[in-house]
Every structure is written in structure tokens, then in C-alpha cells.
């Protein structure tokens, strides 16, 4: 599909990935969504802002053709307070629209599910934090959580299992409501939002050059991807040329983050299938990996390493050599562990056909990132919307078609090896030069975007900077938004004890979602 087919008035944005932006009418909002859905386009993200007092804009970003992005703005005239629903074309829009209601007070007209999502009743119903009239520091007196209306399942022998928000083990909080017969799951309904910290509003207290630190704390396991995505949008607004070496070092950090998470997940998924050996082996590799992060990037998770204009510190020749030799060691260890996983019949019995998401379902619901690739959707920002240094790297995208736990495990193994290859290439061909652009705290007013393939999937940032160099609005989208609803389908027909395994095989972010 081509953007011209949509007959919209759009301008091409000066971003390192293909992005066009335009304003639409409510009718065009709907007709464009329909046209994109019919042509198998994807909804990347959806959010709302108040530009000036009483003047709202709803924005959507679509991937219309494997990496070509279209950013639409729908202005809402004063006093209207609503916009047309698009969840009939893109089911993933449902929760995003509910959040626009929670935070901004605008209704998606025609939507079937209008329950609150991030608001649990801890602040008044008529308090909308993202409105300009509010500072975000209002402290509501009520702290009673509301009684959420779960969809109930009736029938002989059907009962409910309520789990969370506090789970067994060291996990983020969320609530899962299972309707089961015997051990079989008939229905799962998620309730999230427990870690809602008001990040979108908090951004307004940050200057644009400092906002990357908040972005880097929206989902700790993806701090590198978030801060890069944020910095990319700021650098686009202020037209900064980031030194080549800095971009290459950023990519080393991003691939190291991917490997760290995959190592942890491969161990934890094994453990959730009763294979403690896997956890113990992979967690050891992960610890080695994080310790080298600490010595070279000054932080185990590499928080705040990526900063506006470049990176915080250089890595000398000796450091690069250490990275190479660690890649070599980890590769051989992971190869032998992969052999053990593949040959373990008990493990494979739990992995195969568990938590299946067919390609058709994945396309309908908009499954994205790693989980999408395990269901046959060959999409990766590093390939489909590559910016430097990925334009030089030619990433091999790993896919599977079976869409089960086994597929998500296999994709992780493939991606570990591919990222090791990428790191070697980056280190071997590391350009010389500066690691950070000369630092300025202010630049022209404007807005732009960043898009980075984090280990879960694409992290999209839409950033608005005002004339004083302050963040006017920052919306950062986690791929978990698309993928959480899919888990509700993935578990249907599986037994309840398979849920932790299925959930871990996706390993979605609560904090990145709840914001």
C-alpha cells in the first residue's frame, strides 16, 4: 500500500525512518483506518493531547506497509469531547482509547468497551490529569479502588480464579481473572494499570534534554531502547547530527540489552516448565553479561548510557576486546544449552502447542515484535525502518510459524546468536571519532518521533518540545500494548498451570504499559 492511495494531505517528516504526517477530519479518521486495515496495515500507537486550553488532538501512527509510518492528527473542536472509534478495525485500539478517556476525558464514540483502564478509581472520575488545567500534582482524597466489571462466564461447573495484583515470586503487579472448567481455561481477562505512575504528565516537568532519564525508567528491562527512542525524537526536532561512533556504540548497547533479556527469559521459561537447571545456567550467563555492562557502560542495565546527542562514555580498544571475547564464550555456552533444551523431551512436551497464537489471530490483533515473529510476522524495526547503523548491518530476522511457547523460545535463541553476530560486526568496524555532539540545552520548538526495536518490539516515541526547551508532551509506546490482549487468546483451551509458562514466554512489560 502506498501513502498516495489514501489521498490525504501529508508531509514527509525529516526522520531517519520513513514517516509522513497529516491532519484529518473525523470522516477521514475512520475511512483511513478502514483502508489501512483492509490492506493489512498495522496500528503502531494511539494517544491524545491537549495542545492549548480546550483544544484537543487525537493522534494515531500506522505502519502502512512494512515499515512506512503514517502519523495522523485529528483535531477535536472545543466543546466536542469525542472522536470516532477505530477499534472495530484495530482491536488493539480498544485499551488505548480507554486510556484517552482516563487521562484526557475524551470519548471514543461508538466503542463497545468504555470501562476505565488505567484509572482504578483512586482519583475522581472528573479529574483528567493530562488536561492543561491540571498540574498533575493534585492529590485526590479518595483512595478507594473501584470494583472492576469483569466479563463473567456462566455454565455448569464454571468457576473463577482471581490472581494478583501481588503474584507469587518477584514479578510486576497485574490482575488475571480466569474462568475455568476443571483445569481448562475458558476465558482470561486481564486487568492492568497497577503501576501507573503518571509518566506522561511527569514528562511536562522535564526539560527536553533531561527527559531521556525518565524515558529510560519506564520499563527498566528496556531502558536502552526507550532512551534511544526518546533521544532520536529530540535529535530529529533539533536537527542534531549524532556522531557516527555514538550511533554504533548505541547499537552495541541495544544488542547487549536484547541478549541480556533473552538470556534471562530462556532460563525463566525453562524454570516455569520445571527445568531449574536452565534457570541456573542462563542466570549465570546473564550475571556475567551484566557485570561487563557495569565495567564498560557504568551501569548493569546501561541506564542513562544513551543521552541526547550521543552516549555518556567511550569504550576503549581493550573494552571492545573484552566484548568480543565475551561474545565468543557466551555463544559456545548458549549453543550447548540450546542442544540440551532441544533434546529434553519433558521440556519440549511443555513448550510445543502451548499458548498458540496463529498467524491469522496475530495479524488480526496486531501482535508485534518478538512474539509477532514467533507467529510468522516478519517485522523488525531494525530491518523495516532501519536507521544508522542498522542500514549497514542487514539484520537477519528470525521467524517461526507455530506461534507457541516453543516458537517464542526458538526465536529468542536465534536472536541471541544474531545479536552476537551484530555486536561482533559493530565492534570490528567501530568508526573513530566523537561520542557526543556538542551540548545545547535549547532548540527550536517542534515535534517529531523516534522508533527503535527493543528486545520485545518497537518502542515508538512522539515528542513535543516547546519554545523554552521544555517537554510539552511525550508519548512513548511499549509493544506490550499490542501483545497483552493477545495473551487472553493464547491461553484459551490450555490448562491453568500452563499460564505462568505462556505468560513468561511473552514476558510483557507491566510498567511500560501502565506508565
Amino acid at each position: 500500500m502506498d501513502i498516495n492511495d489514501l489521498e490525504l494531505n501529508v508531509t514527509v517528516m525529516p526522520t531517519p525512518f520513513p514517516l509522513s504526517r497529516g491532519e484529518v477530519t473525523p470522516d477521514e479518521w475512520v475511512s483511513t483506518a478502514l483502508a489501512i486495515a483492509e490492506n493489512h496495515g498495522r496500528l503502531v500507537t494511539l494517544w491524545g493531547s491537549e495542545k492549548r486550553k480546550g483544544q484537543f488532538v487525537i493522534s494515531a501512527v500506522y505502519d502502512i506497509d512494512g515499515g512506512k509510518l503514517l502519523w495522523l492528527d485529528l483535531p477535536i473542536p472545543k466543546g466536542v469531547g469525542k472522536y470516532p472509534d477505530i477499534s472495530t478495525f484495530f482491536p488493539a485500539a480498544t485499551r488505548m482509547q480507554r486510556v484517552i478517556k482516563d487521562l484526557l476525558g475524551l470519548d471514543a464514540e461508538g466503542a463497545s468497551d468504555n470501562r476505565p483502564w488505567l484509572s482504578h478509581g483512586a482519583w475522581p472520575e472528573n479529574y483528567f490529569p493530562l488536561r492543561k488545567e491540571n498540574t498533575g500534582h493534585e492529590t485526590p482524597s479518595q483512595d478507594q479502588v473501584d470494583d472492576y466489571q469483569f466479563v463473567s462466564v456462566a455454565g455448569e461447573g464454571v468457576h473463577e480464579i482471581a490472581v494478583g495484583p501481588v503474584h507469587a515470586g518477584i514479578i510486576e503487579p497485574g490482575h488475571f481473572r480466569f474462568s475455568v472448567v476443571g483445569e481448562k481455561t475458558l476465558r482470561l481477562e486481564e486487568r492492568l494499570g497497577y503501576t501507573h505512575k503518571g509518566v506522561d504528565k511527569a514528562f511536562e516537568n522535564f526539560s527536553a534534554v533531561d527527559g531521556y532519564q525518565l524515558a529510560g525508567r519506564m520499563s527498566g528491562d528496556s531502558t536502552v531502547a526507550y532512551s534511544w527512542s526518546y533521544c532520536m525524537s529530540l535529535e530529529n526536532i533539533w536537527k542534531w547530527n549524532v556522531p557516527k561512533r555514538a550511533l554504533w556504540l548505541r547499537a552495541v548497547a541495544l544488542e547487549r540489552e536484547r541478549i541480556a533479556n533473552h538470556l534471562g527469559d530462556l532460563g525463566a521459561i525453562g524454570n516455569d516448565a520445571g527445568f531449574a537447571f536452565g534457570l541456573s545456567q542462563f542466570m549465570r550467563l546473564r550475571e556475567d553479561w551484566l557485570r561487563l555492562n557495569k565495567s564498560l557502560f557504568a551501569h548493569r542495565l546501561m541506564m542513562d548510557y544513551i543521552c541526547p546527542g550521543g552516549v555518556e562514555r567511550d569504550i576503549d580498544r581493550e573494552g571492545l576486546t573484552q566484548i568480543l571475547s565475551q561474545c565468543h564464550e557466551v555463544e559456545s555456552e548458549v549453543r550447548s544449552l540450546q542442544g540440551i533444551y532441544d533434546d529434553h523431551s519433558g521440556l519440549q512436551d511443555r513448550f510445543l502447542t502451548t499458548g498458540t497464537v496463529s498467524n491469522e489471530l496475530a495479524m488480526t490483533l496486531g501482535l508485534t515484535g518478538l512474539a509477532g515473529r514467533a507467529s510468522g510476522i516478519a517485522h523488525d524495526v531494525r530491518v523495516n525502518a532501519a536507521s544508522e547503523p542498522y542500514t549497514d548491518l542487514l539484520v537477519n530476522v528470525s521467524t517461526r510459524v507455530s506461534g507457541d511457547v516453543a516458537a517464542r523460545v526458538d526465536v529468542r535463541f536465534d536472536e541471541v546468536f544474531e545479536s552476537l553476530r551484530l555486536i561482533r560486526y559493530l565492534v570490528d568496524n567501530m568508526p573513530e571519532g566523537a561520542i557526543r555532539k556538542e551540548f545545547v540545552r535549547r532548540g527550536p520548538v517542534g515535534s517529531s518521533a523516534g522508533w527503535i526495536e527493543g528486545w520485545r518490539g518497537g518502542i515508538f516515541t512522539a515528542l513535543d518540545v516547546d519554545s523554552t526547551g521544555q517537554v510539552a508532551r511525550c508519548h512513548i509506546h511499549d509493544p506490550s500494548w499490542q501483545n497483552w490482549p493477545v495473551i487472553e487468546y493464547a491461553v484459551i483451551g490450555d490448562i491453568v498451570p500452563d499460564f505462568p509458562l505462556i505468560n513468561k514466554s511473552f514476558n510483557l512489560s507491566y510498567s511500560g504499559h501502565d506508565r
Binding site: 482504578h120 518477584i170 510486576e172 551484566l290 510498567s511
Partner: protein
């Protein structure tokens, strides 16, 4: 099937490191004894993420790896708050989690130790206080010790846990 597994275990050997020496009891046996002396049993911990970015969770999970070998010291994360001696809380306390946090605390038997892990749990960190965030854990519970860091590294958390056990001598009123 078994041989590659056993070979791998043998190749890796025992990777566990000495626990932190900062508290002047670096010997695992002594730490074990000290925990026994104070608590009369192994130390059990209930962890609650009250709104964290998950960075602290990653480092808490790392405590279970073979290098730190938390369980080898007689320290264990448990599922039920009724089985726990210590409540480890991460994150700024979000308004949406404050009730679940308070209920978890109520479910724990006295005497109990409450530890705030990470800058956010100490004072709200970068998220501060807002319509959505109450700030530090002390806004909701009586906190015995805070462990600073963003996130604190596993070794720092381990030192903090040992310090909290060691210095938590006076029972609180009502216990």
C-alpha cells in the same frame, strides 16, 4: 539426554561467591547462624512491586543466581505474606497499588521487617509524588531500612537485607 546436562553442571562447577564482607561477617556459616539467632529460623521475604519500572525486580531476581546464592544463606523469597518475616518493597507506591501493598503488610505476622528497595521506594525517585504516585513506601508503611540505588545492585541489596535483620532489634509498638 542426561550426559550433556551432567557435563555442563560439572564444567561450570560451583560459581557461588563470598557474601559481602562489609558487615564484618563474610562467612556464609556465620550469616546463617546470625539469621538463626535473630529470627530462630531462615529468613523469608515477601517482595511487592508497588509501582516499580521493573529494574529493581531484575536485580532482586539476580540475587537468586549462583553467584549470590541467596538460598544458600538461608534467605528465601516466599509467595505468601503469612510466611514472611520481611517485606521488600520496590517502586514509588502508585495509588493503584497502595491498597494491595497495605493488605500484604497486614497479612504478615509480627514482628516483621519492612525494607524499601531503590530510590523510588525511598522517596518516589524520578516519579516523585503526583496524582498517580504517593512517593516513597514510608507514605504507607513503617519502613525499617531503605536501600538506595537505581536500581541497587544485587550485592548492595544483599548487604541491606543483612543490615536490616541485624539492626532490627526493637519491636515496634503494638507487636
Amino acid at each position: 539426554m542426561m550426559w550433556p546436562l551432567i557435563r555442563q553442571i560439572a564444567k561450570v562447577g560451583i560459581a557461588t561467591e563470598k557474601p559481602p564482607a562489609a558487615q564484618a561477617h563474610s562467612d556464609p556459616g556465620r550469616i546463617h547462624d546470625e539469621i538463626l539467632k535473630i529470627l530462630g529460623r531462615a529468613l523469608t521475604i515477601r517482595e511487592v512491586d508497588a509501582g516499580s519500572c521493573n529494574g529493581c525486580e531484575l536485580e532482586l531476581s539476580a540475587l537468586g543466581n549462583v553467584y549470590y546464592n541467596l538460598e544458600g544463606l538461608g534467605i528465601k523469597f516466599v509467595a505468601s505474606p503469612r510466611h514472611a518475616d520481611m517485606l521488600l518493597v520496590t517502586g514509588p507506591v502508585s495509588r493503584n497499588m497502595s491498597r494491595a501493598l497495605a493488605v500484604t503488610d497486614e497479612a504478615m505476622p509480627a514482628p516483621k521487617i519492612v525494607v524499601a528497595v531503590g530510590d523510588c521506594a525511598i522517596n518516589g525517585g524520578i516519579f516523585g509524588e503526583s496524582y498517580a504516585s504517593l512517593g516513597g513506601v514510608a507514605k504507607v508503611l513503617t519502613v525499617d531500612l531503605g536501600i538506595p540505588g537505581c536500581p541497587p545492585e544485587p550485592i548492595v541489596i544483599l548487604e541491606g537485607i543483612l543490615t536490616a535483620v541485624r539492626y532490627r532489634l526493637k519491636p515496634r509498638s503494638g507487636e
